[in-house]
Subunit: 351 residues, 2 copies
Amino acid sequence: MFETVDTPAVLIDQEIAERNIQRYQAYCDKHGIALRPHIKTHKTREFARQQVMAGAMGITCQKISEAQVMADAGLDDILITYNILGSDKLKRLRALADRTKLSVTADNRFVVEGLSRTFAAAPKPLTVLVECDSGARRCGVTTPAEAMELAQIIVEAAGLSFGGLMTYPAVGGTEKVETWMREALALCADAGIDCGTVSSGGSPDMWSAHLAPVVTEYRVGTYIYNDRSLVAGGVCRWQDCALTVLATVVSTPAPDRAVIDAGSKILTSDLLGLKGHGHVLGRDDLSILSLSEEHGCVTSSEGATRLTVGDRVRIVPNHCCVVSNMMDRVNLHRGDNLEGPRKVAARGCVI
Amino acid sequence: MFETVDTPAVLIDQEIAERNIQRYQAYCDKHGIALRPHIKTHKTREFARQQVMAGAMGITCQKISEAQVMADAGLDDILITYNILGSDKLKRLRALADRTKLSVTADNRFVVEGLSRTFAAAPKPLTVLVECDSGARRCGVTTPAEAMELAQIIVEAAGLSFGGLMTYPAVGGTEKVETWMREALALCADAGIDCGTVSSGGSPDMWSAHLAPVVTEYRVGTYIYNDRSLVAGGVCRWQDCALTVLATVVSTPAPDRAVIDAGSKILTSDLLGLKGHGHVLGRDDLSILSLSEEHGCVTSSEGATRLTVGDRVRIVPNHCCVVSNMMDRVNLHRGDNLEGPRKVAARGCVI
């Protein structure tokens, strides 16, 4: 299986990725939702371009460094869903805004003040959305009233243009998004503030995005590759998983135990609530019980693993986004045909 | 705190790292144990050289790609503690052996056969140690009798030289190493096989290495930086931790909850049996409760976090080795004095 690819390696089935892009774009088109994919999953220039070519209105990034890579690749409508602060980052943000259509989010006055200072003298205002916590308990103002207050501050701030509301909901939180955002919109309307965009997201609930009609824009990352967490959540099937890890059995110390050359340095320790560290395609009986950095320990529900040193396995990881970040290059293929390596241009962009 | 370093960032206190190198070298010298540090923790050329300059007999790597980086940096006695197989890797191993003193481990006949085929016509034989499972249940032959049998196969194999026995013990397994290895040595002696080296390792039990006098060589990685797992295990103190992650508070959605800009893309999801994702220096009350890729959620045992947007914190991660692998560069300092960036030359070497 892909004998010319040395292991461990990340494989991307282009055919599946393209199908995933098309299928969700069609869903969004059908429901009149603007799609703004998050590039954190693939971190490649080529897939970002393909997402936009397929109909996405633009892309989402999490850090300025990611957005810089994407702007260099010609992407020209980028939302950074992150509170940006600190003089270095603000300087880079300002430079980036000069060469691409850029928007950001903020959930507090301190961040808005920094953005305003930075863009007060800019040729065009920076679009800022208010990040709202509709239940995920990460970032975001915690009540619709606070959302309206921060929107008001942005409206009045020099150099900024209020872009609307944004949330990253909890899994299963579609209904909550609808009520939360409706309330915030009503408060904003009462205050004479127009909320252009209501942006929600998340792959786990991607097929119920239309059940929150308040949402005008949906951000989704994992959908392009899919992973074990989304299969477990009923969002997709194994045959929809574009990213797999190719590994070799390097040791079979006992009949009931095999060791593969993929450890946490490629599969990562992300569990996302699952047991074990990935699904071995075609072998439902196998579990990747534990990982160290360069080893994965495999057992079978049937007792004997029936694996031999030198065997190759393909693994759907628990969480594909973090796997993309572990590798400088991935290996593209279409079904059984290998196409070659692709640089993960935005790998390691944490700043 | 290090205002010129943008966050999130990895900081390495050189003074602490050098002290850790010296201290454990002194322990090994005192007990007559040869030290062979594992470079997986720092992955830098400079620290590998410093370890050897301090008295280490050589270094340990886990993959050929790591060993290639270290050979390029002039390191010339490298043990790769991994079953190496596959034509690409064997070709690279052969090339590497031509330019540095190299040894590897094997725990099965299939791997030994591949090594033998590769080195049969080499100008000098490749040294191969038998990997033994003394209780960690990862790789390794599972009984002393199997160790002797594989040693015999190596002794008889063309192109190979039998180098001795190697184990990566379970935590708390020092006593088990002693009895396991004594038994294997006795069986080898009966068969007329001389075991030159008995190599053990592991930072959690580094201070009891001398309690297994059968061990001639000790491999230790984490000791150079230390981390939260080793503090929890009583191996070191917070002031012995050389690697920290510098992060900024980007959001305080509620008084009892703050969000920092360090997530699993820098701290990783490794738990090593701990709760939470790192220790905030100087703030014993804080817990890093959960991570997403670019966010860490912080709570306090006192209720209010007393953190403000823009505050900086320094975090000792659960597991320092995996953090080194997330960054292209780390920032060196000595106490409060910043020294500059250093390339993590062997980052991402999984092949």
